[in-house]
Every structure is written in C-alpha cells, then in structure tokens.
C-alpha cells in the first residue's frame, strides 16, 4: 500500500474516522447550542450535562426497564427535551429581562447540580453500554476497517443536522423561528405565541443533546463527567462557527473533528489544543465567527 507523507493510510483514515465521529458529536451539540442561543440569547452551559443525562437515561432504560438502544434513541431525547421544557418554564424564562449573563450563570449552576447528583449516585467510573446487535461488526473498505456502529453515528448525526438545518432554513415553521430570533415583539404582534416557541426551541435544542448522549453511550462510557469533557470543545466550535449560526455549527463541528483527527496523525502533541488555536485565529480575523453575522 501507498504512504501519504510517510503515514500509513490505515493510520490516516483511522484517525480521520475518529475525527469524523468526534465531529459528529461536536456538530449535534453545537447545533443545539446555536438554536438555543439564536432564539433565547442564552449560552446554555447545561448542554454538556443534558448530553450526559441523555446517555444515562439510555443506560437506565436498559438496566432498569430492559428497554434497548432503539427505544432509548426515541425516548431519551424526549425525556431530556421535557426536562428542558420544565427548566425553561420554571427558571430560565424568569431571566429574559435581565442581562444575558444571568442565563449563563443559571445554566452553569444547573450543570454543576446535575453532574454532582449523578456523581453522587453513580460515581465517576463509567458504565458500559452495549452496541445494539443490528450494528455490531464492521465493513472492510479496503483502505480501512469501518465499525458499523461508528458509521451509523456519522450517518445519523448528518441526517439529524441537515434535517434540522432544512427545517429552520426552508420551512414555514423555520421562518417563524428565524423571524422571532430577529424581532420577537413583531412576530408576537402578528399573532404568534412567541413564549411557547421559545420554550419549544429550548426543549428541541436540549433534545438534540440528549440524542447525542444516546449515540455516544456505546462509544464512550456512560459517565457523569462525559459532558464536561466534551462541552469545552463544543463551545469553541460554536464560537468559531459564529454564535447562533445553524450551518456554521454543523460545518464547523464536522470540520474541526476532522482537523483534530489530522493533527493526531501529523503532530499529535497539538491535537488537544488545535481547536483552541483555530478559535483564537478566527476571533482575531473574524470576531463574529466564520458563519456569524456581525450584530
């Protein structure tokens, strides 16, 4: 087989796949953050914790109720979404008239409480979650081996991301959402119930985090800290893509995952910081982010 810049292709493609998987999670999570930020102007620090809860709900459904992966894929985002609706209704909605910082502080506090609670009950060591039978095994693509489950994660994430993009950019409901993001008072004056839209948007955004949690459960272990580890990078992704930009979140999420993968091949020492280096450069050159609009 040929070598690329002295790197065996199996290593290169292996890392690119890993990057694509990480990128899929970045994209799903930063998409939820972008949708929420666009509509609520809240930087949802609880996003990582809700992703973790998504994974835990899947694990609990399996171990307590015997409901497997496919059940979890539907139920867990629903449960996390309803939890989000409850949080928005009872707490976040009281803060909209105050400075945005209060929303950030509230969600940060909520994240600490949720993670603390799960740590208390389940400890910090991860719980294993099995790959569903239908997605065990893998494909030999010639140049690399592709585990079925990882392929599924990439495909599922792409479908959900672009489905969300389509719903927001190309449908009537999405037009309401974009309009309400821009001028909620006027949209309300056309007879649309904006507070309900805001609640639903938060619920949907965190449901995406819950879905990412279920997808992640068989790959990473189900652990109370799984969200904390990921969310810092996801925030960097959102900043690079441009706060509130839907397409920016998706493209940047996948792109940075791949970039991380490549960095692991060619200069592994930098792989943990490459995202933040990119963030610093983007902030210097284009402060609103690659896809962001200057406000």
């Amino acid at each position: 087989m040929f070598d690329l810049l002295g790197v065996p292709p199996q290593v290169l493609f292996g890392q690119l796949l890993l990057g694509l998987i990480n990128g899929s999670f970045y994209a799903l999570l930063s998409l939820g953050l972008a949708v929420i930020f666009g509509m609520l102007n809240v930087i949802n620090f609880a996003h990582g914790a809700l992703y973790m809860i998504g994974a835990f709900v899947a694990w609990l459904l399996l171990t307590k109720l015997g409901l497997g992966y496919w059940w979890a894929l539907g139920l867990s985002p629903l449960i996390v979404g309803l939890l989000g609706v409850a949080l928005e209704k009872t707490m976040l909605s009281r803060l909209y008239k105050l400075d945005h910082l209060y929303g950030l502080l509230l969600t940060f506090g909520l994240a600490l409480i949720m993670e603390g609670a799960f740590r208390h009950f389940y400890g910090v060591s991860g719980q294993p979650y099995p790959i569903p039978d239908a997605l065990k095994g893998g494909q030999n693509l010639g140049f690399m081996f592709l585990p079925n489950y990882r392929g599924w994660v990439v495909v599922a994430s792409l479908i959900v991301c672009f489905g969300t993009w389509f719903a927001i950019e190309r449908t009537r409901l999405g037009a309401y959402l974009r309009a309400a993001t821009e001028n909620p008072v006027l949209v309300q004056a056309f007879g649309i119930n904006v507070p309900v839209m805001i609640t639903a948007t938060y619920g949907f955004g965190v449901a995406l985090a819950g879905l990412a949690g279920v997808l992640a459960a068989p790959i990473y272990q189900v652990s109370p800290l799984m969200g904390t580890n990921l969310i810092i990078v996801v925030f960097a992704v959102v900043v690079i893509g441009g706060m509130g930009s839907i397409l920016g979140a998706i493209v940047t999420g996948l792109g940075l995952g791949l970039l991380e993968g490549l960095t692991k091949v060619f200069y592994p020492e930098a792989s943990n910081i490459v995202v933040f280096v990119v963030m610093a450069i983007v902030l210097l050159i284009k402060p609103a982010g690659l896809f962001g609009r200057e406000r």
Binding site: R172, A175, Y176, R178, A179, T181, E182, N183, V185, L186, V187, Q188, A189, F190, G191, I192, N193, V194
Partner: protein
Amino acid sequence: MPDGATVKTAMLEIRDLQAFYGESHVLHGVNIDVRQGEVVTLLGRNGAGKTTTMRSIMGIVGKRNGSIRFQGKELIGMAQHKIPRLGIGYVPEERGIFASLSVDENLMLPPVVKSGGMTVPQIYELFPNLQGRGTTQGTRLSGGEQQMLAIARILRTGADLILLDEPTEGLAPVIIEQIGVAVRKLKQRGFTIVLVEQNFRFAATIADRHYVMEEGHVVDMIPNDQLAQNMDKLHTYLGV
C-alpha cells in the same frame, strides 16, 4: 363624510388609555373612536404618544390601563398574541422586514387570522414592485419597497383594521404617491385604517378625520373637510 360614518358601527373605541414604559407615564387618558371603513390619522409632534397609542392597541407596551375595545371586545388584559388574531394588522414604524427571511417568506409570515384577506395576485396588483422579487433577501429591497412589503403582508391575513405607523417616513415623493394610491384603494376595499403621520399633506389626501395628540393625550379632532378652516390651529399644534 362624518355624517355618513356615524351610522356605521364603531370598530375601535379607546377610552381613558394610560400607558407606561417602565417608570415613565407616556399616555395620559387617550380617547379615540374609529368607525368601520374610516381612515383616521393621529397627528402630533415627536413624542406626543402616537406610536405608543398604536403599540398599546397591539399590547406591546410595558403597562397600559383604561379601555380599548375592538368590535366590542376589550383588548386590555388580553394575551398579546390573541390581539392580532381578532383581525388587527400592525405595520410598525421601522417596517420590521426580516433580514433572515426572503421577500416571499416575509410576505407569508403573518398567519391568516380571518377569511377574506387579499390573495397574493391581488397584492401584486396593488404593489407591482414586489412581483418577481420573491427570493430576494427582505432587507435588500429599497426603503419604499420594504414599506410596501410591510403593508402587503398584513393584507394577506384578513385583518380588517390596519395600523400604519408613519408609512411615508424617509421615502421619496414618488414613492409616497404610490403608497397614497395603495391606501386609498384599501379604503375602497373596506379596510379600516389608523395612520400615524408626520407628513400632514399626505394625511390630508387620504384621511376622513384627524386626531391631534399632544403630550400623551388627544387635544383635538378635525374632520378632513373642515381642514381648511382649521389650518392655523393645526400649524400651532404641529409647530410647522
């Protein structure tokens, strides 16, 4: 005209309307009546409370009390998003064209609240400038076209009372003319229109009656056919 109009039913009755933005008390007992099919203007200097009166009707001020009855229904205390659903269309001063929506999306945004609204071809007939611009970003239209779009999107909804806040502000005379023609056609179609205007000449060409506002209340009402006799008074009110 006022004699003929009195037999028509009252569409909007505003009584002792008080409105507040935070601590500041902006409207101090506004009384206005609008009958079905009338075009009524609110005249007055900047800060007299004309826009606030409109925003109070739509329920988008900080706090309001008194009474606003639309077709007999009390609007004060009603949930904000229910007010337009009774058939009131609002065209704000800043026009409110959405930058993230195309012209078509802007046009189709406000939900239909009643049957009998204008169809899209009828709207294009009224505002030919908008035709063929559907995929353009809303805010890329000229100021006049944005104003037409802001009016057009309300006509689709079936609203029978239209609140127009300074539709001629910042527009070229030829565009103002076009807007005037459109407003007269809307009156012929039976729409009831409340118009806030600084451009008194424009108002005189389309309105049945003029309410003059000063410092948060109505100080005078002048029927359009008695305008000539009242010009001196009006000049003092408006400070022109």
